[in-house]
């Protein structure tokens, strides 16, 4: 079941150079929500922009019946979202998609977020904490002001390390470099990641090299959000004899099928995704 209807914007505040945090009162939706799932929101009550926008659940407050979204203004839809005032009505649909699943065997988990990819990792981190699983969170961003949520994560008393491309905060370089160091040094036994495709691509190279299993959350342009339109597909390896699923099979074409990010994902097992350039 999913909710679709009008909910109330409780808070919508700027929390970074292009980042906003919106809290929405939607008890029916909240009740069903799980870490890693997303909502599909309308940014306008008229016909332009037309499509809904997928935004991850960044906070799930089962008691208050609210969900929060952490989003970056990148285009017209998110711009219109950012202009909504507390008290405004928002047309929201969800929760949608399959979220993260926490495997029994995970003991030392590495959580990696690139850019706005940190958004869906918060409820995951909270869940891992509830399960008392040891975790380290690595956050990567362009520069210091683009690091969002590090303080909040720290307040959850989890270990957080930050990298910035320009070195203005934490490690200077890509979060994937930080991840590689961490994997070598601390030998985590599972990972979760969300971020831009180039980051995930690089991360998969590393984790596959070290044989580290995990889950990644993908993004793709969406129409329906419910599996009906087949717009949001990603390449998933076909579990056949014809291709190696362990490493990146350079050269040989890997057989794939298209799966839907909106309903088969957005979270997929790291071992099965194929990321093109």
């Amino acid at each position: 079941m999913s909710f679709c209807g009008i909910a109330e914007v409780v808070i919508n505040q700027k929390v970074g150079p292009e980042h906003y945090l919106m809290r929405i009162l939607a008890p029916e939706l909240t009740r069903l929500a799980k870490p890693g799932q997303f909502v599909h929101v309308r940014c306008s009550s008229v016909l332009d922009p037309l499509l809904r926008r997928p935004i991850s659940l960044h906070g799930i407050d089962y008691e208050r019946g609210t969900v929060s979204l952490l989003y970056q203004v990148v285009g017209r839809g998110t711009q219109l979202l950012s202009e909504m005032k507390p008290g405004a009505e928002i047309d929201i649909m969800g929760p949608l998609g399959k979220g993260f699943s926490i495997p029994d065997r995970a003991n030392r988990v590495l959580v990696i977020g690139g850019g706005i990819g940190v958004a869906p990792l918060f409820p995951l981190v909270q869940a891992l904490k509830r399960y008392k699983i040891k975790q380290t969170v690595l956050l990567g961003a362009r520069s210091a002001d683009f690091v969002v949520g590090a303080d909040q994560l720290a307040s959850l008393e989890v270990r957080v390390e930050v990298s910035t491309d320009d070195g203005s905060l934490g490690y200077k370089g890509f979060v994937t470099d930080l991840a590689e160091k961490h994997v070598k040094l601390n030998k985590p036994d599972y990972f979760f990641a969300c971020g831009p495709n180039p980051m995930l691509k690089q991360l998969l190279k590393i984790t596959r090299k070290f044989g580290l299993a995990g889950q990644v959350s993908l993004e793709e342009r969406m129409g329906c959000g419910v599996g009906a339109c087949l717009a949001c597909v990603c390449k998933i390896k076909v579990a056949s004899g014809r291709c190696s699923v362990a490493g990146v099979n350079e050269g040989a074409p890997i057989d794939f099928e298209y799966k839907k990010v909106c309903t088969d994902g957005p979270v997929f097992a790291a071992s099965e995704v194929i990321l093109d350039d």
Binding site: L47, L50, M93, G223, C224, V226, C229, Y258, T263
Partner: protein, 303 residues
């Protein structure tokens, strides 16, 4: 009581509201939002003989009051559909219209035969207008001879009502409508998407993986209404009208232009309950303006 039942070329429907192929999956996707029993019919995603992977991503782009898509007829193939999707749909008291496509006449013939032998298929909607596949698709729909050939082949292989789905990307759609009528179509589905494209001025590349795509949504409604208006007055076949229907008013525009039934497409993405909301709105309009039978409204704007 308002009478909502319509007959679309031999297919009896409890009301005129159906779903546009490719926008409603195979039924279960929208079941959390819509009681499928309420729909006049369900038109499923286009089915081909063999499974098809479809096109590379991005497959969708937003345009002013519209969307472009280049799904490329991704589908699991006719056998999978009959085995896995039809049983689900048979649970409902709603006729299932299967949208079919093919690369060759023989493809269309074989898909038609298999679906006609299956239980729970109420009608075939023949897609000769998909702008997103290399072979077949739209090329069939833009030539009058080829369009008629495809419909002729389907006709020979089934007793089910045959609905020909035409492409708006033509100079003279009335001519093509006449052609498929003669070839044995029982009804017409108007319209499929307009061929369009979008370029990202920053990457300086086409946005869609397949470069061009099909334009749908409210942006194209004026074109669709015009086509229904023209064809309905020239050809003696019932019409399933579609193209940018978002509300009951939009649906009524098509009916007044001459459509016997309507299909809701892109609107499902924006409002997952669009189909039933539209049905409800049509009922309210009929009650408010004292329209006893929906059929009174078909083509009522002609004079």
């Amino acid at each position: 009581m308002t009478e909502l039942a319509v007959n679309l070329g031999g297919l009896q429907m409890k009301n005129p509201v159906t779903t546009a192929s490719g926008t409603f999956g195979f039924g279960p996707e929208y079941a959390p939002f819509v009681d499928l029993n309420k729909l006049g019919a369900i038109v499923v995603k286009g089915i081909t003989l063999k499974p098809r992977k479809g096109n590379p991503t991005p497959r969708i782009a937003e345009t002013p009051a519209g969307i472009l898509n280049c799904i490329g007829l991704q589908n699991p193939g006719v056998d999978y559909f009959i085995e896995k999707s039809l049983p689900y749909l048979r649970q409902y008291d709603t006729p299932v219209i299967v949208n079919i496509a093919g690369n060759s006449l023989e493809d269309y013939a074989e898909v038609t035969r298999r679906l006609s032998a299956a239980e729970g298929v109420a009608a075939l909607e023949v897609n000769i207008s998909c702008p997103n596949v290399k072979e077949g698709g739209m090329i069939f729909g833009t030539s009058c001879t080829m369009a008629s050939e495809v419909i002729g082949v389907v006709r020979q292989n089934t007793r089910l009502p045959v609905i020909a789905k035409l492409s708006p990307n033509v100079t003279d759609i009335v001519e093509i409508a006449r052609g498929v009528a003669e070839a044995g179509a029982d009804a017409l589905a108007l319209i499929n998407t307009l061929l369009g494209m979008k370029i990202d001025v920053y990457s300086r590349k086409p946005v869609l993986g397949n470069i061009m795509g099909g334009l749908s949504g409210p942006a194209i409604r004026p074109v669709a209404v015009r086509i229904v208006w023209q064809v309905a007055q020239a050809v003696q076949l019932p019409i399933l009208g579609m193209g940018g229907i978002m509300t009951a008013e939009d649906a009524l525009e098509f009916i007044l232009a001459g459509a016997t039934a309507i299909a809701v497409g892109t609107a499902n993405f924006i409002n997952p309950r669009a189909t039933v909301d539209i049905l409800e709105g049509i009922k309210q309009y009929m009650e408010k303006y004292g329209v006893k039978d929906i059929n009174e409204l078909v083509g009522a704007a002609w004079n």
